[in-house]
């Protein structure tokens, strides 16, 4: 009994450390891949943003599964030429989406009314063709959209993605807020991970449920206080360096002929998918 309680108590901290570590690892992988030499890495970030977003819009707009599978095949091909392996796609995208969306889609196979496809032995649930088609469509759509989204992040430094958002007339202030938020997230993830690790190292024996809840609330409180302290220090530092509300960005992007070709190809594929997928 004591063993199970102890295991449960420590798993609360370990699960939190694992969640925080997973997010950090995701950022590290994205950064590593975006620095590699590949097909998508050498394109202008604005072209990638517009092109991949057009494909995402196409995949959420079409009704035919074959059109979605076509876009998914294109995304996998782009990933291969951009040095993103199938293993990375499977572990970072497909499995997660399969579990989450699959849990939503699977009951639909049996609950959607329509033409019977078969019965589950023992349970006597009747699967319908309409239900299976609907579940497959939901799953393929989610997998394809998530793959396209990850292609952008894994082949483009996040600062460039943010700057490329200006193409969509996103206000500069919002771009700056997003950029700062992203950096603070990484900092706070490390900070939170460190103090959970420190707590885990000092933990001897078991802690009861009430203490665990207090520990969770206190950890958040400490993190909040540190965040607010940091925000004051950063704002003072910005003002000391002459920040008066105006935002200027470095690294002007330059669209080359290959970027125009890529943009035409992306938009052309999206339009083709829309035409074929809604026939």
């Amino acid at each position: 009994m004591a063993l199970s309680v102890k295991k449960r108590a420590s798993s609360f901290i370990e699960r939190t450390v694992a969640s925080l570590g997973d997010s950090l690892e995701h950022s590290d992988i994205a950064e590593t891949h975006s620095e590699a030499v590949g097909l998508l890495q050498c394109l202008d970030p604005r072209v990638k943003l517009v092109g991949l977003f057009a494909l995402v819009l196409a995949v959420v707009s079409v009704g035919r599964v074959s059109a979605m599978l076509g876009i998914l095949a294109l995304a996998v091909g782009l990933a291969m030429f951009s040095r993103i392996t199938l293993r990375v796609l499977t572990t970072r995208v497909w499995l997660g989406v399969l579990v989450f969306t699959g849990a939503i889609a699977l009951p639909g196979v049996f609950m959607t009314p329509g033409e019977p496809m078969g019965r589950v032995p023992l349970l006597h649930w009747t699967a319908t063709w309409q239900g299976a088609h609907s579940a497959l469509r939901l799953l393929v759509r989610a997998e394809t959209a998530a793959t396209l989204a990850i292609l952008l992040i894994f082949t483009t430094p996040c600062t460039h993605v943010l700057k490329a958002m200006r193409v969509f007339r996103v206000p500069v202030v919002l771009v700056v807020i997003l950029g700062m938020t992203h950096r603070y997230i990484l900092l706070l993830l490390r900070t939170a991970g460190e103090f959970f690790e420190a707590r885990r190292c000092r933990l001897v024996g078991e802690i009861d449920a009430r203490t665990r809840r207090q520990l969770g609330a206190a950890s958040m409180g400490v993190l909040l206080e540190r965040s607010l302290l940091l925000s004051e220090e950063v704002f003072d530092a910005m003002q000391a360096r002459g920040f008066r509300g105006e935002v200027y960005t470095l690294d002007e992007f330059e669209v080359k002929p290959k970027d125009w070709v890529a943009l035409v190809a992306f938009v052309g594929m999206a339009l083709l998918a829309l035409w074929a997928g809604n026939q």
Partner: protein
């Protein structure tokens, strides 16, 4: 500041919160954000956290960003803020009521947001389906989407938000109550337990209560019988039976009193039946005295509960000292 609170909201979503029963859950932090920043900044902070989550951390939801922001950032923040302000009122920053208010704000906020999401899921099959009737997007109607979403949120997700919101406000009350000041400008940040209550603030309430007590005999002016407030004896009196029938769309009551009513009606005899003590001749005076007596009991019980809460709050302070 918005960047940091957005980052904080994002990181808080990663925390595993131990829940009663041995499980763990994640919180969104919408109530905390609304309590610390106010509703408008909270909307922006949660939206930014959701956008970062969708774009940079591959959690999906790029095309659903608008719906997610509406549910969690806008509806969640506004509902959580309204519930918090409604419950905590003008209580001091260190009042235990603020902890309860924050906890309920988190619980209700996340559940209303989940209800909005469930409705958005549930109406989709009606709008988007192919020629064979197969849904193009979310496959479930409202009758399935609402229970499926709400069962999980009313239990685990709601409790995670409740624990986090209440726990964090309780922690801030002990360590840095000034952070709660932004959404409670009228509240005092001195120790609520030591602070004497300002009786003048409550004067209009007491006067209103007294006026209501004096007005209680107005009920005698009402004609007829209150529907459903019948005793077993009323079924035997012809005059009352006619009143019951008149109040029930002219449907005659049963000849004999219902067996259950007769059995249960004898369990408890009210000390002041029909608001008229036996020793009083005047019905009006009886009503006023009954109102005073009932109000006195309620106020006494409230004061007793308040005293016990203050006593329990002082105990840990003494132990830590």
């Amino acid at each position: 500041m918005i960047s940091l609170v957005s980052a904080f909201s994002f990181v808080v979503m990663m925390f595993n919160i131990p829940l009663p029963g041995g499980t763990t859950g994640h919180a969104v932090g919408m109530a905390i954000s609304a309590i610390l920043l106010g509703p408008w900044a909270s909307i922006l902070a949660i939206s930014v956290a959701l956008l970062i989550q969708a774009v940079f951390f591959g959690d999906g939801g790029i095309t659903a960003f608008g719906a997610n922001s509406f549910n969690m950032a806008i509806v969640g923040s506004l509902v959580a803020y309204a519930v918090y302000r409604l419950i905590c009122g003008r209580t001091p920053l260190q009042s235990p009521r603020r902890v309860v208010a924050a906890a309920l704000a988190g619980y209700i906020g996340i559940n209303v947001a989940a209800l909005c999401a469930a409705i958005e899921f549930g109406i989709q099959p009606g709008f988007f389906h192919d020629a064979s009737g197969a849904p193009l997007y979310a496959p479930y109607p409202l009758s399935i989407a609402i229970p499926a979403m709400m069962i999980g949120h009313l239990s685990f997700a709601g409790i995670a938000e409740l624990v986090i919101s209440g726990g964090l406000v309780a922690w801030l009350q002990r360590t840095n109550p000034s952070l709660l000041k932004l959404t409670a400008p009228e509240a005092s940040d001195s120790d609520a337990l030591a602070e004497p209550h300002d009786c003048t603030e409550l004067r209009p309430l007491w006067l209103g209560l007294a006026a209501l007590m004096v007005a209680t005999p107005l009920g005698l002016l009402a004609a007829g019988t209150a529907w459903g407030e019948w005793s077993p004896e009323d079924f035997k009196k012809q005059e009352v039976r006619q009143e019951i029938a008149a109040a029930s769309h002219n449907i005659a009551p049963p000849e004999s009193p219902p067996a259950g009513l007769e059995r249960l009606g004898s369990i408890w005899s009210a000390p002041i039946p029909d608001y008229a003590p036996a020793f009083l001749k005047s019905k009006e005076l009886g009503y006023i005295l009954s109102a005073m007596f009932g109000t006195g009991i309620i106020v006494s019980v409230s004061l007793l509960i308040g005293w016990l809460l203050r006593l329990s709050a002082r105990q840990p302070a003494r132990e830590s000292a």
